[in-house]
């Protein structure tokens, strides 16, 4: 834990920009740190994680929520798998609140949320399916995902929804991998709600070694 600058001070293993609306993936080695940079501000980054050695073990929103007793992610949050094991830990966060309950947008759910005229718009599930296929993953492998930088409050009467974000240009969140972790990302293309400020923009992904080390842990 510390500042983002502290936790990403190791050797840079990868530094890539993800275009607006695009999918992305990588394997973050155990001990390495993935830092996501919200370059233009208020850009939802839909995110799934898998044990790279056994992808049937994957991020579980429910187990993560139960273990930390809260639906919001921030520094200290441990992202647990469906088997209750840590995949990643949030080690630094410049926003303070990220979403676990909103899931991904899809063409199909867009038809319910906004009307059938939105069904041909690009969506996160399309990105997850495209990128997952590169790793042998299919539809059955998609589960409830994290939305970095997305703000989904729940009112006292249960009313919930995606509202204006809390992020700003350049805000970062850093995750340290507890095991070799396959990360699937959809740089959210949604234009019908405020999750991207109605304007999808690029984000940056940086993977660094554990601070003070030159190599990822064997």
């Amino acid at each position: 834990m510390g500042t983002v600058d502290d936790v990403m001070s190791g050797q840079v293993l990868l530094d890539e920009e993800v275009a607006a609306r695009a999918p992305w993936s990588t394997v973050v080695p155990a001990g390495a740190v993935l830092t996501i940079v919200d370059l233009r501000g208020n850009q939802a980054v839909d995110f799934l994680a898998y044990n790279a050695a056994d992808t049937a073990e994957r991020y579980s929103a429910a187990d993560t929520i139960v273990a930390q007793g809260s639906i919001f992610l921030t520094t200290g949050s441990v992202l647990l798998s469906c088997e209750g094991r840590p995949l990643l830990t949030v080690v630094a966060d410049e926003v303070g609140r990220h979403d676990t309950i909103g899931g991904a947008c899809s063409k199909e759910s867009n038809s319910l949320r906004y009307g059938h005229h939105t069904e041909y718009q690009h969506a996160c599930v399309e990105n997850f399916l495209t990128e997952g296929a590169r790793w042998g993953l299919g539809k059955r492998d998609l589960v409830g995902n994290i939305n970095w930088y997305m703000n989904v409050p729940v009112e006292a009467d249960g009313t919930m929804g995606i509202v204006d974000g809390l992020s700003a240009p350049g805000r970062r969140v850093s995750l340290r991998a507890a095991m070799d972790t396959l990360v699937l990302v959809s740089n959210c293309p949604q234009v019908n709600n405020p999750c991207n400020g109605f304007d999808p923009t690029p984000v940056r992904m940086v993977v660094t070694t554990e601070p003070g080390t030159m190599e990822p842990r064997a």
Partner: protein, 290 residues
Amino acid sequence: MAKGGAMTSVASEGAATATTHGAREHARSQAGRSVETMRTVPAGAWPQLPDGVAAADMLWAETVAGGGYTQLRVARGTAIRLRDIAGAACAHVLLFNAHQPAERLNVADTTKVLWQAYLGAGHLLLSDQGRVLASVVSDTSGRHDAFCGTTTLAGNTARYGSGAAHGPSPAGRELFVVAAAKHGLSRRDVATSVSFFAGVRVEADGSLSYLGSAGPDTSVVLRAELPLVVLVANVPHPLATDPTYTCSPLEVLAWRDRATAAGDPLWHASPEAERAFGNTLGYAATGGLD
């Protein structure tokens, strides 16, 4: 003969079961007994039929033990009643489209699309394909949860000393994996479940409050809007406060009913519901399921 305490009874039973004919007689003599938690076959023989339901329309009747599970495949238009008999049941439920089980319950869409985090009467359990798998027709509990999923082997082992399906405190996920396997489904298909009869609320700061049970004899009636595989695990909620593994029997009844149709209040409860039911009816009709 290693189990010394059982030696006498084993020896005496052995006399009756030393031959195939004796063993067959012994096996058959066990039938016809009744215990608290079991399935009733045929379901029409269930002694307390729901109001307005004829014995001939009963499809399923079972009392699921605490720590137990059941799994059934139902037609579109089937009503399924879950009842917490004694007040300490917790029905963890997974739903799949029986015709294409890659389509399954999507908890995020179920809450987000309907702008409502808390399950109750009128809520629609949505799939990932923009369709209604089941609707919540009635609810006398009001305490349910769509955020916390079910329990895991690791979690129950840490908490109760065991979480294995064969142990004294089975985890919900372990039971789901077995139940799913009976429909050709694997660990990859066991995504986040919803649970009935143990309430959870979210505070403004995002923290969870556990409400637990609403008391004995509460029930939820679900209506299958598509042909479904229904998996039900009756295990303590992940946030259960009782330090011991406490879970009382769950009653599961199913009977012939009809799917929600245009003109029904539920169909028109919200614009999102209208589109979800429209998608569902279109899919059912196109696929010859209606």
